[in-house]
Symmetry: C2
Subunit: 200 residues, 2 copies
């Protein structure tokens, strides 16, 4: 692992442009992190190794991703489509789409990465914290998607939307962690959503 902080003293290292991220440096750091994980698994990822490989300062890496967990999750999310979830017009259709998109993403190498992050988080409190922060963001997005239905006045009033989102996320995680990504998203959405709407 070479000498500590050696990366920071390298000539020709990439710099940041202050508080704003320098896109080229961001790409270099995520490329480096992804390559390290590909080659040695998530255990091989240290902030120092990433900085050295990306020819960036360790302080730069830490400024944008405060922990290696945050960096791992950035690598995991990197290839996700950012254009959101389709609005199919029904809650069941929306939730089936959410599960279908997730299962498709998890069939890529990113699925194995996420499994390993969840696994490592079981015995790594710092990683668990990063995962929990990430998970709450995803839960909020999912709650928002379900909230579209609520805005159409079609949701049961006495069930918290966040609990609905939690149920969908739980179903997704179980299928990832038990290697069942070929399950039918429509059937899974149906058993979850039934009863959540007035019209569903």
């Amino acid at each position: 692992m070479a000498k500590s902080d050696g990366g920071d003293a390298c000539a020709g290292k990439r710099g940041s442009i202050g508080a704003r991220r320098n896109p080229a440096t961001e790409v270099a750091i995520l490329d480096a992190a992804g390559a390290i994980v590909d080659e040695g698994g998530i255990g091989a990822l240290t902030m120092e190794a990433v900085a050295r490989r990306a020819r960036a300062g360790k302080a730069t890496v830490y400024r944008w991703w405060p922990t290696r967990g945050a960096l791992l999750l950035a690598v995991y999310e990197r290839q996700k489509q950012t254009d959101g979830y389709p609005d199919t017009g029904t809650l069941e259709g929306d939730m089936a789409a959410v599960l279908r998109l997730l299962f498709a993403y998890w069939k890529r190498p990113e699925g194995a990465l996420f499994r390993h992050i969840v696994a490592a988080a079981q015995s790594d409190p710092e990683l668990a914290e990063a995962l929990e922060t990430f998970r709450k963001e995803r839960l909020a997005s999912l709650t928002e998607v379900i909230g579209r239905t609520a805005a159409r006045g079609e949701l049961a009033q006495d069930l918290p939307v966040a609990d609905m989102a939690r149920a969908v996320m739980a179903m997704a995680w179980l299928h990832l962690l038990t290697g069942q990504l070929d399950a039918d998203p429509v059937a899974l959405a149906r058993v979850l959503v039934r009863g959540w709407g007035h019209t569903a």
Copy 2:
């Protein structure tokens, strides 16, 4: 780890009484396995270490638990109450009871053990297979509990009972793996079960 197969040659080792399990030997093996996991984590558990510590033959251990995963899961399940789930008269009440009992069990050291089994299974195919066998048994039990409601004619006809069981299991696992065992089982059961019954 001493020399291989040394345990089998020990004098004074416990024996089996043929195909049927010798209860004293079973207790000794599970005690030994539990102690090894307590002291060194699940990575420390090998069939050989268990046989040596229990003064049993390795063949005996293998005969009753074909893999270390199966043995780990036997240690995990050992303290579970075997008197089944209460019949509360409603599906929502039954599922809340299932979640309440599971969360209570998972607050014991067994919860940490199960988290670590699920985690290790993500990169250990043999353990994953043992976990999957175990999980399908638990899913069948849960399906049976929900089936009691179906027998009373109160379940939606077009939703597979196994998918309902899967949703409940998923909710439970998510809460274990994210350290949220203080969640309210009644609220979680409500968001799942709504819509599954004619009368729920």
